[in-house]
Symmetry: C2
Subunit: 165 residues, 2 copies
DNA sequence: CGCAGATATTTCAAACTCAAAATATTTATG
DNA sequence: CATAAATATTTTGAGTTTGAAATATCTGCG
């Protein structure tokens, strides 16, 4: 699978996992812990305050950034979830009148999803409240630590990423 | 909901969200991104290499740390998922012969779940491979950054935590 | 003892999620 | 043009997840 000591650091060929490997595992478990805790809190607030869910919020947020709309495949790629998953979320948001499916000229396979004016208005309000929830949950995070966190996490998320042109 | 500027820093009563609030939101979005990416990769490897799933691995891991077994409620609290959720996962692991339910003396409502010897053996092997996967995914994370990451994330996960005793 | 409230777990319905298969359409290739 | 391969999306089946309701049991109080 992977060779221990994959950075080529000096060391002897041992079979136990390295200290570095264990530190990385601890880091991952801590990410998971924070992620679950925060998601749990946000989900509950979403439900109580908006009568909605995180996945729906995520779709609205993506469409709010791309006001001209996105294809289903762009949405699923942007949210890092499966294609089939997005279909169901979009169905419900359409039923709620917050988004619409628009056929694409010259490609009858595809459709573009975009916010309705209701969806735009609703999301704009929700986004402000959502940001305040996050800021509250992260109120122990200083500006410097936030920057450090972002920098470190970026090195992880860029792992094995194709360099763009 | 929350007052802007909840740290009592100097500033004027403005309505826009603060730079700090935005930095925290970006930090949260980055956590979410890494978390989803890593979970996705681990889920796929889990499925291909072990024919199993992350939630099942998480339950086995919790029981491996508590060799004497755990109650359902302890499990769900430790994994930060709902009670009903654990029931289903445990049912499947029991069917696979990796764990057992043991009745609790003097409390017929509760049961204790613990690894079978098969479960213990299987998990011990899987845990090593799992650690190597994580270490590979985090191979750009230095020892110092891992420690910094853990420290910062702990300040977040300890937010609003009841002081013990 | 009797029984109200607390506790532990399961069941349930709805939503989310994935991977794979199915469908529909477009593009490329001979 | 025909049709194989590629692309975009939906459908499907299994599993996970939640929150609420249902069950079963225990505890404390009169």
């Amino acid at each position: 699978m992977n060779m221990n000591n994959s950075q080529g650091l000096p060391g002897h060929a041992e079979n136990e996992t390295s200290d570095l490997s264990k530190a990385r595992l601890r880091a991952w478990l801590q990410i998971l812990k924070v992620s679950r805790k925060v998601e749990g809190e946000l989900r509950e607030k979403m439900r109580l305050e908006f009568g909605s869910t995180l996945p729906r919020f995520d779709v609205l947020a993506a469409l709010y950034r791309e006001r001209d709309g996105m294809r289903m495949s762009e949405l699923s790629k942007s949210l890092m979830v499966s294609n089939g998953n997005v279909t169901g979320i979009v169905d419900r948001l359409v039923a709620e009148g917050l988004i619409v499916r628009v056929p694409v000229e010259n490609d009858r396979r595809a459709s573009i999803v975009r916010l309705t004016s209701d969806g735009e208005k609703d999301f704009a309000e929700r986004a402000l409240v959502h940001e305040s929830w996050v800021s509250d949950l992260f109120s122990d995070l200083s500006s410097g630590d936030a920057d450090a966190l972002i920098r470190i996490l970026r090195t992880i998320s860029h792992h094995n990423e194709a360099p763009h042109d």
